[in-house]
Symmetry: C2
Subunit: 189 residues, 2 copies
């Protein structure tokens, strides 16, 4: 999927506004991995920041501890099986999740981790703060670079007229899609 | 909207899984307020926890500082105008946002803040941790009680067959809806 850089970068947080499930990509230049994260949100507009929950015992966590970086890849419904698969498998058993689930690597501009070419949007992030929540850690990270498919996200705005279907995780193997905008008017009075 | 308690309470975090915009309710027994929060997510399963971003200069923030509590109300598309209105107005000028936007108060079980009767689900939360992010604060809070409309959320699962439309904030006055589930199969091999 051909994508272009999001400019200004202060628009990039909006990729996470709708609350879609994301694929987190990690890598140190030698090995890499992918996993799906339902619990994600923007954390600041400018400089753009994100917050994600990440299991401390998961295979990918040491990559983030080592590099301080991760990619956030926003999928569309066309790669929902890969999202489910990346969430249901561990990198300790599936060495190449990209290959296993039919995805291809897109080189990042600012981080070592690869990005997901088939995603609608990609954020490159550097960890600023780690909040220990026991089993998992809440990672707050700055957005260093961002790009998106211009047919679905342009001028800092999502657009649905070209068949975009964003993927929302309900739990387990259940997903909903958002595929249309509704008209909402500010009440008068 | 008639709702029933979510049991076990460990299922309650799933109300936030799809990434819908929420209405946060605050109150100290004398005054109350409502505001919309796009940046929210679950933070733990059991005990259930949530994370939300909240502007430190906003009218509602002192209520949370004082009481250590807030309600999370998950709207459906039928009250989208109220969600937009609550986000676009300040409690310092609109004393009763419930009345102003056609919403009614539902008494909480564990906190002083009122809940939104017209929401599909309601969480009652107590703040555990405040992470300062400059202009805003990231609040991590435990879910003390939760209820949901059984026609849309039952046995810990969202269901769309009764016309549920969840509201996802794109930015500004733009919203998308998720209103159907898609079938996603784990890839074989």
């Amino acid at each position: 999927m051909d994508k272009i850089n999001i400019e200004p970068l202060a628009h990039a947080y909006k990729l996470l506004n709708p609350g879609a499930v994301v694929l987190i990509s990690v890598g140190d230049g030698k090995a890499d991995n992918l996993y799906s994260v339902t619990w994600n949100m923007p954390a600041r507009r400018d400089p753009g920041m994100v917050a994600i929950l990440s299991g401390k015992r998961h295979y990918s966590f040491p990559f983030i501890e080592k590099t301080g970086e991760f990619g956030v890849n926003i999928p569309h419904a066309g790669i929902a099986e890969a999202v489910l698969g990346c969430g249901r498998t561990t990198g300790s058993r599936v060495q190449d999740k990209f290959k296993r689930f039919g995805l291809t690597r897109l080189s990042a501009q600012k981080i070592k981790a690869p990005l997901v070419n088939e995603a609608v949007g990609n954020l490159e992030c550097r960890v600023c703060q780690v909040i220990d929540l026991g089993y998992s850690a809440l990672l707050i990270a700055q957005i260093l670079a961002a790009r998106a498919a211009p047919e679905h996200f342009r001028n800092g705005e999502w657009c649905f007229e070209n068949g975009l279907k964003l993927l929302h995780h309900l739990g387990g193997d259940r997903f909903a899609v958002s595929e249309r905008e509704i008209d909402v008017q500010l009440p008068q009075g």
